[in-house]
Every structure is written in structure tokens, then in C-alpha cells.
């Protein structure tokens, strides 16, 4: 099986009456997209993988004033394959002024022996709103995970909001009580937008307080956003913890912000 | 910066700021009680702030709040990483930061009290942190403690011997303590108190008032400091 390169694209435009219209919906197998609602698109995996050597690129462009929801029908299983180079998944998302993006695919599962690079570039206009969830499962049941390097960059009007790398399958990190402890999954959700902007006149020596639960925390960022981070023993527990954190983060939003 | 006389004294720029008073002494000698007593006596006349280096529990906060002597917002706790003497002597950065944070939030202040964590007889405040310091002993430690000396007993600007009401019960001879303290303190004052009986520690408060007056006479009235204007030089 030879390595695959695919580029898919979702682009919205504002239609009359303030509605959202899908201007472009371009699938490129194995990245296959299906419109499942007026403003909703599902990623439908066709074929196994990604495998080592594959390069998948998804572009998401949410036009000013429109809204879009992106989900997936199932988990992504990252597999080893024969190539020497890692599989690469790049998601570039731009969310325009006053636009809203909800991005919550099912988890990425790192099968033993895989080598994966996941890159997210999320660029928000000043008053764009986003919900972005990411879940990574360390191997199938009872399996040691392959390797993964996930990089997440979110900017608001060009200013950095969140820049994070997660490394899985590295000797220095696996099982470290400082990094994942004994968890088998890691997840995060970013809720960002003007509703989460820090107070205009903060006490400069005091940060906003996080909400902390069992294995999760809703962390107010320095910029306009809250990141929920969670660790879990399995995908079900992870999702449950993320949901708790997401609720806490959502209730921290300032109405009309 | 430069060859300024104050540099020799090693204190932060003293002009126009509060007097910084260190209160040190062994565990249980009554430091927190003395802080409460001073707040009670001095609160009406002086603008106060308190930095505490003790394990500052809700209980301690409640103690001071119940005493009704100071707005709890004016108390900042400094964690010392299990080394209370380090935080007041070898590495005073966190305490200086806390003092200045109080002055930024509530300034101008007349007096900032820095209460050390309970430690042993060798713990004293750096002159970079405290302009004046009080060392608190209590009689139940035994009447030989002043004779043993140690930097706290010998060099503090004021030595307070607390819990005099317990002296008969623990067999402590106050005369001996007074005589021994005088012998090692080179004329610096010693006051005997029972904060349990004198809730305002009035003799100590009087001494502090005198110190604040002398400080302001020398360095001027405190004025407000904005955040991070200049390095403490």
C-alpha cells in the first residue's frame, strides 16, 4: 500500500438572512466529508489509517458571521504502516469575525507501532468564538501506544492564545507523575471568544481561578479563552471528565461578552 | 544606586514608606498573639499591613479576623518552603514582594509587620527586610533562655518576654530573666508581657508607636507607591 496524500476543505459563506451556507465541501479520500445538517459536517473515514507516510490536510474556513460544526462518525485509528516517515494530519482552521466554529471529532487512537504527527493551526478573528475538543487514546485496549507528537497553536487576531505540544510514547514522559501519571488518555477542550475575555481591570498579581475536578481542570487562559484539560483511564472516563470541565468553562462565560 | 549611605544599612530605599517591623521568636511564644495585640492597639492610629510567614491556616486568619483588628485583605501569607529562617534572612525576596504588594494595594501605610515562621533562637531578620525587629520569648521555655543568648535575644531592637502569667506555674524567675537579658543585650530594651491578660500589649505598642514616629521624623510621611517603579536599591 503506498502512502496517501489528501487535502480536504470546508468553507462557509454568509447567505441571505444571516444564514450560513456551505460554499465549499471538498473531500479527498480518505478524508471524506458529509454535510449532515444546515451548518454541520461529519468527517467520514474511508479506508484504514492514517498509516505511516500518509499526509492528510484539512482546511476549515468559517466566514465572518457564519457558524459551522465539524464532527466525525468514529474514532481515528492511527496505524503503523511500512513507511519510515510518520503519518501527518494537519488541520488549519480560520474563524472570521463574529463567526463560530464547533470542532469535536471522535478520539484519535494511537495503535502500537504508529508514528503520528498532528498539527492544528487555529486562527481566530478578534470576536470569533470556538469550541475545539481533542482526545488522544494511548493504544487500543491493553496495548502500548505508538508515538505521537501533537502541536496545537491558537491565535486571536494574530496574538498567541495557546501553544502546546503533547508527546506520547516518549520514554521520559510515559508514566511520569508530572505528565500523564497512570492515565491512558489525554484530552482537552478549548472554549475561546469574547465571552471568556479576562476582566478589563485585572489585579495584575492575581490570576483568574481555575475550576478543578477529579482528573480535570477548567483553566482560564491569559487571553480570551478557557482550556479544559483532562486525563483518564479510558476514553469513556476521559469524555466524562472533559464534559464536566466544559460545563464549568461554559458557565464561566460572561453573557454578552 | 551608588555610594549612598542607605546602601550600607542595606535596607530598601526608606524614604516615604512604611516602617517594616519584624517579629520573630520560637514556635508558640506568642508571635501571632502579639501581632493581633498590636493591630488592636495601633489599628485606630496607624495604617497597617501584615505579612505572615507562618503556616497560615484558615485558623490563623480566623484568629486575626475574630480579633476584629485588621481587614483580612491586609494580611498576606508567604510560603517559605519549609525554611522559615531562609525567607527572613538569606532570601528575603518573597517577603519584600509581599510588603510592596500591600503598599501598592492599600498604601500609603505607616507600619508593615512581618511575622516570621516559628524557628529557633538563631533566626533573625535581615536588615534588608526589617527596619526594626522584635524577638518574642515566653517564660515557659525556661528562665535560662535569655542567658543562652543567640542572635535573636541579643540583637533584636526589642526583646519581649511573654506569658508572664505562667511564670509561677513553670517556676520561671522573671528577675533572673531580666538580669540575664540585660547582660547580653547591651542596654537594648526588654519588656515583660502577658498578652492573655493585656489584650493590647500596651507597653509593646507604645514602643512601636515611638519607633514609627522616629521613622517618619527621619524619612518623611509615607506616600503611595505604584507597582514596580524602581528596583529596591
Amino acid at each position: 500500500m503506498t502512502a496517501v496524500t489528501a487535502r480536504a476543505l470546508i468553507r462557509t459563506e454568509a447567505a441571505t438572512g444571516g444564514r450560513t451556507r456551505l460554499e465549499t465541501l471538498r473531500s479527498d479520500p480518505p478524508l471524506t466529508l458529509r454535510q449532515t445538517g444546515p451548518r454541520r459536517v461529519h468527517l467520514v473515514s474511508t479506508g484504514a489509517g492514517p498509516l505511516r507516510g500518509d499526509h492528510l490536510d484539512l482546511g476549515v474556513d468559517v466566514a465572518p458571521g457564519t457558524s459551522l460544526e465539524v464532527r466525525s462518525v468514529g474514532a481515528t485509528l492511527v496505524l503503523p504502516g511500512l513507511a519510515d516517515t510518520p503519518s501527518v494530519m494537519v488541520v488549519r482552521a480560520r474563524v472570521g469575525a463574529g463567526a463560530t466554529l464547533h470542532f469535536s471529532p471522535e478520539p484519535t487512537v494511537l495503535a502500537a507501532g504508529c508514528a503520528h504527527r498532528l498539527v492544528v493551526r487555529l486562527s481566530l478573528a478578534e470576536d470569533a468564538t470556538v469550541f475545539w475538543r481533542e482526545e488522544i487514546v494511548f493504544g487500543r485496549h491493553g496495548e502500548r501506544p505508538g508515538r505521537c507528537h501533537a502541536r496545537f497553536d491558537a491565535t486571536v487576531a494574530g496574538r498567541p492564545l495557546l501553544r502546546q505540544d503533547l508527546l506520547i510514547g516518549e520514554e521520559a514522559l510515559d508514566g511520569s507523575p508530572a505528565v500523564y501519571g497512570d492515565a491512558r488518555c489525554v484530552g482537552s477542550a478549548l472554549l475561546a471568544g469574547p465571552a471568556w475575555a479576562p476582566p478589563a481591570v485585572p489585579d495584575v498579581k492575581r490570576e483568574r481561578r481555575a475550576v478543578l475536578g477529579d482528573g480535570w481542570a477548567a483553566l482560564p487562559l491569559a487571553g480570551p479563552g478557557v482550556q479544559v484539560c483532562a486525563l483518564g483511564a479510558d476514553a469513556v472516563q476521559l469524555r466524562e471528565r472533559l464534559r464536566h470541565g466544559e460545563q464549568a468553562a461554559a458557565s464561566a462565560a460572561r453573557p454578552g461578552g | 544606586m551608588g555610594a549612598h549611605h542607605d546602601d550600607l544599612h542595606d535596607t530598601a530605599e526608606p524614604h516615604g514608606r512604611a516602617l517594616r517591623l519584624g517579629i520573630g521568636g520560637p514556635v508558640g511564644s506568642g508571635k501571632t498573639a502579639l501581632v493581633a495585640a498590636l493591630c488592636r492597639s495601633l489599628g485606630p492610629s496607624l495604617r497597617l499591613g501584615v505579612v505572615t510567614n507562618d503556616i497560615y491556616t484558615t485558623e490563623d486568619a480566623d484568629f486575626l479576623r475574630r480579633a476584629g483588628v485588621i481587614d483580612p485583605e491586609r494580611i498576606l501569607a508567604v510560603q517559605t518552603g519549609c525554611c522559615p529562617h531562609t525567607a527572613i534572612r538569606d532570601d528575603i525576596a518573597a517577603n519584600l514582594d509581599a510588603v510592596e504588594t500591600l503598599e501598592e494595594r492599600f498604601g500609603p501605610l505607616d507600619l508593615v509587620i512581618v511575622e516570621s515562621g516559628g524557628d529557633n533562637l538563631t533566626a533573625t531578620f535581615s536588615r534588608g527586610l526589617a527596619d526594626r525587629q522584635i524577638f518574642v520569648l515566653d517564660v515557659s521555655g525556661g528562665d535560662k533562655v535569655p542567658r543562652k543568648g543567640g542572635p535573636g535575644v541579643t540583637s533584636a531592637d526589642l526583646l519581649v518576654v511573654n506569658k508572664t502569667d505562667l511564670a509561677p506555674m513553670v517556676g520561671a524567675d522573671l528577675t533572673v530573666m531580666s538580669r540575664d537579658a540585660a547582660a547580653v543585650r547591651d542596654g537594648r530594651p526588654v519588656l515583660f508581657t502577658s498578652i492573655r491578660e493585656d489584650k493590647g500589649a500596651h507597653a509593646v505598642a507604645e514602643w512601636v508607636t515611638h519607633m514609627v514616629g522616629a521613622w517618619q521624623h527621619e524619612h518623611g510621611e509615607p506616600h503611595h507607591h505604584a507597582a514596580q517603579q524602581a528596583p529596591a536599591s
Partner: protein, 233 residues
């Protein structure tokens, strides 16, 4: 002069800049039972170095490089914002800014320079520790790699010392862990200085490492809920 002696001063735990009171998450890990002995501690330190250690090393190197050129306040604010974006946990940001503010205060007296004055004005609430460390390093005569090495080194030495105090571990055994980490500390410093992509300087800041440690985030937030904490973080 190649900055070697300055490097030693900057990395010394006796540098009076408040570092002794930070455990880097160890106190909470101990409280939660996640670190109970030297085995856990070794894994904790290795993971901390590969995440927080690498990130602060990269930011410190960037700050040190920035300090070498004529620098506007705006660039310091931008670099500090890059540090913000790499710290999702508000407790961690606050601890980092506290350490940065204290280090800057001390560094301005040790190595007075226009760069440090500019940084203090640019970020009045206190720059992130890594940013202050890089700027202080530059003012002391260190090269960016030396600043990175200091950041990587202190990212594990402080937590190691805290574990000795909190768990009563054999200090030599714990220092052996640090000795074993020496190659990884140097590796982190090298990785921190590897120019990300093609661009060095401000145009390359966006690509600096942001290795996150979810457990450290949870520990940092949990630490704030500990009413009996002995360390600041």
C-alpha cells in the same frame, strides 16, 4: 569573560530570588500520593524536565538573545505573551510571574542594566520566570545557551530539594537522580536553542516548544486548594 561564573551565580539555589519556596508541583504530588519515594521522584523530574524544563529553557534562550539587541518594551511584552500562551494553568502562570518578578528585582541590583529596566517597565506585574531569567542572564554576561541551561537545571533542582524536605529522602540519593539527569539537562538546553524553522529572533517565537504536562497543570491548581501548603507552588 564568557559568562561561566555568572552562570554559576544565576543557577545557584542561594541566589536570593525566592526560588527556594517553589516545589514545582512536588508538594501537591506528595500530598496526592503521586510521588512517594525516589522512584516516583525520578520519573517526575524526568517528565518535568522534558516539558516545563524544555519550554522555560527555550523562552529563556529567546529572552537572552533578545536582551543582547536594542530592545523595545513592545518586544518584551510579545515574548511574555508567548510564555503566557504556553501556560494554560493560571496557578502556573501566577507562580511563574511571582518568580520572575522576584528574580528581576534581585537581578536589577546584581547586574543593573537598561534591558532589565525596560523589562520591568514593559511587564509591571512581573515577567514570566523564563523571560526574567533570560534577561538577567544576558545582563550578567551569559549566552542564550547558558540561560537555557540554567532554566533546564532549575526546573528540576528546586523540585528535587522540595522532595528531600517533604519526604525526608536521603539528600545524596536525590542528588544522584540529578546527576543521572545531567545529560538530559544539557539535551534540553540544546533542544531549546535549536532554531525553530528558518527564523531566529521574534519571527521564530511562534514555533518555540510548548510541551505541556497535564498532570503538572492539575497539580498546580490542586496546590492552591491546600490550606497547609509550605511551598508557594
Amino acid at each position: 569573560m564568557n559568562g561561566e561564573a555568572a552562570l554559576l551565580l544565576l543557577a545557584d539555589s542561594r541566589l536570593p530570588a525566592g526560588g527556594h519556596a517553589h516545589s514545582g508541583g512536588v508538594e501537591e504530588a506528595v500530598r496526592r500520593g503521586a510521588v512517594t519515594g525516589t522512584g516516583d521522584l525520578a520519573r517526575f523530574l524526568r517528565g518535568r524536565l522534558a516539558t516545563a524544563g524544555l519550554v522555560t529553557a527555550a523562552l529563556a534562550a529567546a529572552a537572552c538573545e533578545l536582551a543582547a539587541s536594542e530592545t523595545a518594551a513592545e518586544l518584551w511584552r510579545r515574548l511574555d505573551a508567548e510564555a503566557d500562551a504556553r501556560a494554560a494553568s493560571p496557578a502556573q502562570r501566577e507562580a511563574s510571574r511571582t518568580q520572575g518578578r522576584l528574580l528581576l528585582r534581585t537581578a536589577r541590583r546584581l547586574w543593573p542594566s537598561a534591558v532589565l529596566d525596560t523589562l520591568a517597565r514593559a511587564v509591571p506585574e512581573g515577567p514570566h520566570h523564563a523571560v526574567a531569567l533570560g534577561a538577567a542572564g544576558a545582563s550578567a554576561g551569559c549566552a542564550p545557551r547558558q540561560a537555557a541551561l540554567t532554566a533546564a537545571y532549575t526546573s528540576v533542582t528546586g523540585p528535587a530539594t522540595a522532595a528531600v524536605r517533604l519526604l525526608g529522602l536521603d539528600p545524596v540519593t536525590v542528588h544522584r537522580l540529578l546527576a543521572d539527569l545531567a545529560p538530559a539537562i544539557e539535551g534540553a538546553a540544546s533542544a531549546a536553542c535549536a532554531s525553530p524553522g528558518d527564523a531566529a529572533g521574534p519571527t521564530g517565537w511562534h514555533a518555540l516548544p510548548g510541551h505541556s504536562a497535564p498532570a503538572l497543570d492539575l497539580l498546580a491548581e490542586g496546590h492552591l486548594t491546600n490550606p497547609m501548603k509550605l511551598f508557594v507552588s
